[in-house]
Amino acid sequence: MLQLESIGKRYGEDVWGVQNIDLELEPGIHGLLGPNGAGKSTLMRIITTVSKPTTGTAYWNGTDIIDSPGTVRNVLGYLPQDFGVYPDLTAREFLQYIAALRGLDRKTASDRIDELLAVTGLQQDQDRKLRTFSGGMRQSVGIVQALLNDPELLVVDEPTVGLDPEKRVQVRNLLTSVASDRVVLLSTHIVPDIEATANKVALLRDGELLTHTTPESLIKETESKVFEYLAPREELDTIRRQYQVSSTVQQSDGVKVRVITDDQPTPSAEPVTPTLEDAYLDQIGQRGVTHNVTQ
């Protein structure tokens, strides 16, 4: 289990990346959600011991990882958001390099590389130099390297960025399959990825933890607050200013809008079942964030 106590990270004089974070992560997938600049990557760097906190500490199974970073590094799998590869190594050579860094023996490393390349569909490309890989393929290599040492703590920052929908589903399945008895911290802006995989969701805003709860209870808090109705196109801007608009669907006779509000916006508006995305927007309270769909 990973415990964070009063974690804070200050940049410069008075700019806090994260502040007063208390969090307990038990085995399972924990989704980390928050707008840009909320402190997600900062928190992940602290958990992975890449960065030291200004205040507070963190424990892995009771051991202080700030004092003894080796404790968590031994069992850690990490995919940073902005990770790189050595372009002149082949995919297999790069993974062997990471396996050696993680302290795996030759046989285990080789077996794990074969298996993970198989589930990410990179077997045929394993002997190609990484400079020839597309962005999505490099991302897949990143995911494989994070899983090489069969980590007990897996921290992945935006793992599905740059992947096509099919690959995204594969990554979700992979994360779900490895998360049975280990801690997975998944940061992403793609709320459906969290919805499909996470047992719990931690919401960050302005460097502070808003909540850490199950997706169901988060959605429950938004129940009876989500409405859909057909509005004239010319009113869309007004609606956006007035309500938290979750999505819009262009139709021939107007725009079907989905809004989050305590009161029914118009008599024709019908209450609908909220999604995790609705719940997230309700908690974060951003205006004008929408997904447009044309029908």
Binding site: R45, T48, T49, V50, P69, G70, R73, N74, V75, L76, Y78, P80, D82, F83, G84, V85, Y86, P87, D88, L89, E93, F94, Q96, Y97, I98, A99, A100, L101, R102, G103, L104, D105, R106, T108, A109, D111, R112, E115, L116, A118, V119, T120, G121, L122, Q123, Q124, D127, K129, R131, Q145, N149, D150, Q170, N173, L174, S177, V178
Partner: protein, 543 residues
């Protein structure tokens, strides 16, 4: 149309300039520049006329009047810019490539020449900052150490008149080199410094052979550093205190050992030809920017060139020699279909595999001619048929490509988070160092073996010294500076003075017969050890 283009150029230049001046590295550069200015003004080194009378060298230097301080600071500023300006200024185009800004720029309507002129302007802006620092230091130093009244106009005017055009020229060279796939890396760095050295030596040699006042106009127009102008302006003042002077009419840098005679020079008019010269040098710089549009590629993904390695080329040319695996349709298995091997032991070493991969990283990705050159060095060195000094010097410079990525590569390819979050972050550092040491041992061992056979233990000590020193210097400077240019510049200067010119005290590679058996190898071995410890400290702080 033209005002729009001018605005585009200005914005490209301004954005690049802001990015540069907000870097903390600039502060370090300015401190070093100011220190140079201080050393010049307190006379640690100075522009000197030198003559030999009855076997004794006599140095002539000017009294530190405003005019003299301005003139000598200007020439020094130009010299600094000629030798170090390239390394300080370069990086702007590569930065756009590594950050992906070039993709945005490539999708806009800005013309290549406008973009490159904008970058050139930013470089010139940096030159102005550097010269202003040097000029400011000269002003302060004249106030403290100078003779007569401090005249800011003379001091700053001379600094900018001599230094700025040369800076414009170096900025143009930088743009040209950065725009070329062949010259934007280590090769360009090497070509530049030797080009600058050659230029200076040729100008000085040509000027020193002439009688005072008889330097032909074409030669004066090639006076990049203002040395001939300085000579023309101060020579009469020199003759006033030393009418018997028979040395060269051009001053050179020196420390003024031996007898020093001071002459008094209060300034005067700059020669007319010098204004034409400065204007021409600026035009040359701008011309190089226009020339750079030929090799410049508007978009190069990830800052990586499209160069192919020798192996890749062979694979393309004769695919039958490299059959590879038959391409099949990729079948993706689900995690449920595969029984994943559990990992129970995460402390099973792996250092050997790490070392192998680090060796691969060191030897891959160079142009084909580099491998051919390495092979020739090996064959010639092992045959022992050539004068040892020459081949040792070459062997000490050829692996510059190998060493210069050390320490910096993890930053360049954003691998650092993966390393510092591993259980033993120091292992990568040690593996990289050992890979570098093995490469050094291979190159220098192949060429130093006659010395080892001849001198036994002393020869082994020479080899040990270079093996300890060079990879440690590369790794420590790469880690601390987070660029490869600092190592390349320092190493090139060191190599030029030591192994190439055979100055025994700096001959870390043992290219002269005088090195073996002295304390020099030991000094470099100890320095290397200290540098390696510095790298370890850096990694420890990172982790």
């Amino acid at each position: 149309m033209l005002p729009n283009r001018a605005t585009s150029i200005a914005y490209v230049g301004w954005a690049d300039f802001l990015q540069r001046v907000r870097s903390r590295r600039l502060l370090v550069i300015l401190v070093v520049i100011a220190y140079f200015g201080y050393q010049l003004n307190v006379g640690t080194f100075e522009l000197l006329y030198q003559d030999t009378v009855a076997g004794e060298t006599i140095s002539y230097r000017g009294e530190p009047t405003s005019a003299y301080v301005g003139l000598s600071t200007g020439v020094t500023g130009a010299t600094i810019l000629l030798f170090f300006g390239y390394y300080i200024l370069s990086g702007s185009i590569m930065r756009d490539r590594s950050t992906g800004v070039n993709e945005l720029v490539a999708s806009t309507s800005i013309r290549n020449v406008s973009y490159l002129l904008g970058k050139w302007l930013s470089h010139v802006g940096m030159v102005i900052v550097l010269l202003a620092t040097l000029g400011g230091a000269a002003l302060v130093n004249h106030l403290v150490h100078g003779a007569g009244m401090t005249n800011p106009l003379w001091i700053l005017g001379a600094v900018f008149l001599v230094g700025l055009p040369l800076g414009c020229f170096v900025a143009g060279v930088t743009i040209f080199f950065q725009s070329s796939d062949k010259l934007n890396g280590t090769l360009g760095n090497v070509v530049y410094i030797f080009g600058a050295l050659t230029l200076l030596i040729v100008i000085l040699a040509a000027g020193s052979e002439q009688e005072s006042g008889a330097i032909p106009l074409w030669l004066r127009l090639g006076d990049l550093l203002g040395l001939f102008a300085a000579g023309e302006m101060t020579f009469d003042a020199l003759l006033a205190v030393a009418p018997e002077y028979s040395g060269p009419p051009v001053a050179n840098y020196g420390t003024g050992s031996g007898e020093v005679v001071r002459y008094h020079w209060d300034g005067g008019s700059w020669p007319q030809w010098f204004y034409i010269n400065r204007f021409g040098v600026i035009l040359l710089g701008i011309g190089l920017v226009f020339a750079a549009t030929v090799p410049y590629k508007r978009f190069a993904p990830g800052g990586e060139s499209e160069r192919r390695s020798l192996g890749d080329r062979l694979k393309r040319i004769i695919p039958s020699l490299f059959p590879g695996k038959t391409v099949q349709k990729t079948e993706i298995q689900t995690p449920a279909e595969i029984s994943m091997t559990p990992v129970t032991d995460r402390a099973s070493g792996g250092f050997g595999r790490l070392l192998i991969q680090e060796l691969r990283l060191l030897v891959r990705g160079y142009p084909w001619w580099w491998y051919i050159g390495a092979l020739i060095i090996g064959i010639v060195g092992l045959s022992g048929g050539t004068a040892s000094g020459a081949i040792v010097s070459i062997a000490a410079i050829w692996p510059l490509f190998v060493w210069s990525g050390m320490g910096y590569r993890t930053v360049q390819h954003r691998i650092t988070p993966l390393i510092v979050s591993s259980k033993q972050p120091l292992r990568q550092l040690i593996a990289e160092w050992m890979a570098g040491a093995l490469m050094t041992a291979a190159f220098l061992g192949a060429t130093l073996w006659p010395t080892i056979v001849e001198t036994s233990f002393d020869g082994i000590l020479v080899l040990a010294g270079v093996v300890l020193f060079v990879p440690s210097l590369a790794q420590a400077l790469g880690l601390w500076s987070q660029t490869r240019r600092v190592f390349e510049l320092i190493y090139l200067v060191l190599w030029y003075i030591g192994p190439l010119n055979g100055v025994p005290a700096l001959d870390f590679a043992g290219s002269t017969s005088e090195t073996a058996g002295t304390a020099t190898p030991l000094v470099f071995a100890i320095t290397g050890t200290v540098l390696f410890l510095g790298a370890v400290v850096h990694r420890y702080l990172q982790a």
